[in-house]
């Protein structure tokens, strides 16, 4: 299943003080905290690991149709391989391991589960319409009969005349950016 997450680093800097006492302990396991503290770009790694967890949380929630929950420490990041522009890693949830890819920019981080066929971000809040255009073209469905609705658990669905198309995708927005991740070949 697919999940993604985008972090606007400028907004994150305004919204969150990750150096606050107790903050890292609530979000990260001891191993993850060590990884962050020992890295030479702590801020980047805080938000990298956070976005990996969020992306996998969304994938898991969709896969198992879970009610929303908030337990970042249940999502454990490991095997993080960093290059200047990309990071790959794994996030385990219970007994399952999800591989993730992250794109690193000076002002944002975009993470998505590795089974995403398409990942897109935009400098505006229009990822939803981009996503629907992509689906419309792929399935030759008129754009105006496609819609995005949410289940009671808050999981978004793409619908065609109200019917769930069962397309695995994920949406994220933060600050100036919005993003989607999508797979068209799996159901």
């Amino acid at each position: 299943m697919i999940g993604n997450d985008i972090v606007d680093l400028n907004l994150a800097r305004l919204q969150s003080n990750w150096e606050r006492h107790g903050y890292l302990q609530k979000l990260f396991t001891e191993e993850e905290q060590k990884f962050i503290i020992n890295s030479n770009n702590q801020e980047l790694n805080v938000w990298l690991l956070w976005s990996m967890k969020e992306a996998v949380y969304k994938a898991v929630q969709r896969k198992y149709k879970l009610e929303r929950f908030y337990d970042p420490n249940q999502f454990v990041c490991s095997q993080v391989q960093l290059t200047p522009e990309k990071a790959r890693g794994e996030v385990s949830y219970q007994d399952e391991i999800f591989k993730t890819t992250s794109e690193l920019f000076p002002d944002k981080i975009l993470s998505y589960t590795a089974n995403s066929e398409f990942s897109h971000f935009s400098e505006e809040k229009n990822a939803r319409s981009h996503l629907l255009q992509k689906v419309s073209k792929h399935f030759l469905i008129p754009l105006d009969s496609l819609n995005i609705t949410k289940t009671g658990q808050g999981i978004p669905l793409i619908t065609y005349h109200g019917d769930n198309l069962q397309i695995p995708f994920s949406l994220s927005h933060h600050g100036n950016y919005s993003a989607y991740a999508l797979s068209l070949n799996m159901s």
């Binding site: 969150s16 606050r20 107790g22 956070w50 929303r68 908030y70 337990d71 970042p72 808050g154």
Partner: protein, 84 residues
């Protein structure tokens, strides 16, 4: 501590992180931190840390996991205060 005092103090704690201020107008137990108040998920931790400081309690991961609404938070605070 009375319910109303807990709710008032929760409202004060959460206000700096609220991105949808209209959500505060009808602040009650059903108010959802993320859906109604649009608190950023990374800021939920700040709410939790502020609650811990304000009430002098510790919120473990299990309790945190279910803290989605004001009512959830109130119940957790009451439970922790009772067992303190």
């Amino acid at each position: 501590m009375k319910e109303k005092e807990i709710l008032d103090s929760l409202k004060k704690i959460v206000t700096p992180y609220v991105q949808r201020k209209e959500g505060l107008e009808n602040f009650n137990e059903k108010t959802d931190f993320i859906k109604d108040l649009e608190v950023n998920s990374a800021n939920l931790v700040d709410v939790i840390l502020d609650v811990e400081d304000e009430f002098d309690i510790e919120i473990d991961n299990d309790s945190m996991s279910g803290m989605l609404t004001v009512g959830d938070a109130k119940n957790i605070i009451e439970r922790k205060l009772a067992s303190a």
